[in-house]
Amino acid sequence: MSAATTTISSRPARSLASTLSVYAKEAKYEFLKMFRLPIYAVSTLAFPVMFYVLFGLILNPRQAAFGGTSVAAYLIASYGTFGVMGAALFGFGVGVAVERGQGWLEVKRASPMPPYAYFTAKIAMCLLFSTLIVASLLLLGFAFGGVRLSTLQTLELLASLVVGSIPFCAMGLALGYFVGPNSAPALVNCFYLPLSFASGLWFPIEMMPKLVQKIAPGLPPFHLAQIALCSIGANHRGSLTSHWETLLGFTLVCVGLARIGYHRDQGKLYG
């Protein structure tokens, strides 16, 4: 083909400021999109709060002591873990599955959107929701559960749980690349609920059957729960470093799986 080709004109490359503004807008609209979606916003916030109010406050009128701290404080850590895990798994897993499966991700990929803006926005959205969930539990605990934590403990718990939601963002991403848009919510629940139960997020691990106690250390949410318990000075198992290392390893495995799913997607036949 001897046709003269017009070359790319010398339009300025995107400046750092405009790149940052794209990332900020992407994150803002990702949050608005999910915040206005009741099935996400209400269920991810409502379930941990509801559990906490029920088991931590209503059914615990005498503010009993448990596990080196009070029940009300202990349950902030475990339902907090449950909450941030849900925000991440549903935000990423269902979000990516639906947007990928129904063609929206492709529209974005065809645009000059910086590819990482999409994922960064989803992570930012999950971190914000995680913060909201943990902050709600803390406020309820302080106001009605007689929970007393130092400022440092409070901040450490909040930071651990929010940062600790990232491995579950990665898990959600991996799931999002392998499940279909319609089956996504059900399939995510198939992972979310049994993992939460067996990791001692609903009932303290000490109260679980021996078998579950044996399985739990193999499950990532168990490790995040132990980190959260450690941050408020409650009894916990294992060392903090080993828990973070486990979560880091789990994150890398999930990112690897997500990459396989991403590449598998490229070769797929669309309509």
Partner: protein, 317 residues
């Protein structure tokens, strides 16, 4: 449309014109399925090219290759002289894809605001809204819009970055006649503003109404290329309808007749050229009456090209 003089040069003169997007000997396999087979075509600045073909012909695959969403199995895809996946290429293109679902909880203006931010020199929001006809519904959530309105939002997302080259993949699918004509008008305005457009469609009259050049594609191969007029001339040039007592077999033997069929009291003849057939017809049956000559629609041409025969009945447009 037929009587209009079309100024687009023949494809074989394309070498002298700048090319802004092209597929060179592109083959695309999905597993063992051959979606495209050794396809070659180029798009030149300022033209509206329609990629016409039935469902499953490979139109969407061609668009996705040009958008860098798929990689060719063999061959080369060039857009603005570069790789379609290059961000510098992407800021000069806009795309309207067949997407099942757009996030429904965001408002129209929010979707446009976000997509505009991806481009270095986007249109002002008000202008994008005006071009796509969305001013009155800019605050509505996407999920609350009608089908035609949703398509217009997708058009707005394709044009908001003020790109030079637009890919519209079946933009009017599922629209009613009125919405479709309105969108056609918007597409014509874009071309008038100097945009280059590649449109895919299986609506034959859509290609006829909009395109400077039509590329007919079937089962992954290009089977015809030219102006709508040329495409029609290339196959069943004219349709003659008349009342005659001649048996069909006899008519079929007249020089230039491509096909004949009985249509109630009349016969309908597909002819390459009307004149020679009419001469033969009048010679053999002086009593022939009710002669009507119409140019075959693009639909006839399309049927002939894709099916290899043109027995398909179709009412004149």
């Amino acid at each position: 449309m037929l009587s209009e003089v079309v100024h687009i040069p023949q494809p074989n003169q394309a070498g002298t014109r700048p090319t802004i997007a092209a597929l060179h000997a592109v083959t695309k396999l999905f597993g063992t399925v051959r979606a495209l087979e050794h396809i070659d075509f180029s798009i030149h600045p300022g033209e509206l090219v329609a990629l016409l073909g039935p469902n499953g012909a490979g139109k969407t695959t061609a668009v996705k290759l040009l958008l860098g969403l798929l990689s060719p199995t063999s061959g080369q895809v060039r857009v603005f002289g570069g790789d379609p996946r290059d961000p510098r290429t992407r800021v000069r293109t806009g795309a309207m894809l067949q997407t099942a679902k757009v996030p429904e909880t965001l408002r129209v203006r929010e979707h446009i605001d976000l997509f505009s931010s991806y481009y270095p020199a986007p249109l002002p929001l008000a202008q994008t809204l005006a071009i796509a006809g969305l001013e009155t519904i800019k605050d509505r959530k996407f999920g609350d819009l009608s089908g035609g309105q949703k398509q217009r939002v997708l058009l707005a997302l394709a044009i908001c970055g003020n790109p030079d080259l637009l890919f519209l993949d079946e933009p009017t699918v599922g629209m009613d006649v009125e919405a479709r004509r309105a969108l056609w008008e918007q597409i014509r305005n874009l071309v008038a503003r100097g945009k280059t457009v590649l449109l895919t469609t299986h609506y034959l009259h859509e290609a006829d109404a909009l395109a400077d050049r039509v590329i007919v594609i079937n089962k992954g191969s290009i089977i015809a290329e030219g102006t709508p007029t040329q495409i029609k001339a290339q196959t069943s040039g004219r349709r003659i309808r008349c009342v005659t007592t001649l048996p069909l077999d006899l008519i079929r033997r007249i020089n230039g007749v491509l096909d004949v069929r009985q249509d109630r009291e009349a016969v309908e003849i597909q002819a390459a050229q009307a004149e020679s057939v009419l001469r033969g017809l009048l010679l053999q049956d002086p009593n022939v009456s009710g002669i009507e000559v119409t140019s075959a629609g693009l639909e006839d041409a399309f049927m002939a090209l894709t099916r290899g025969s043109n027995q398909k009945p179709e009412e004149p447009r």
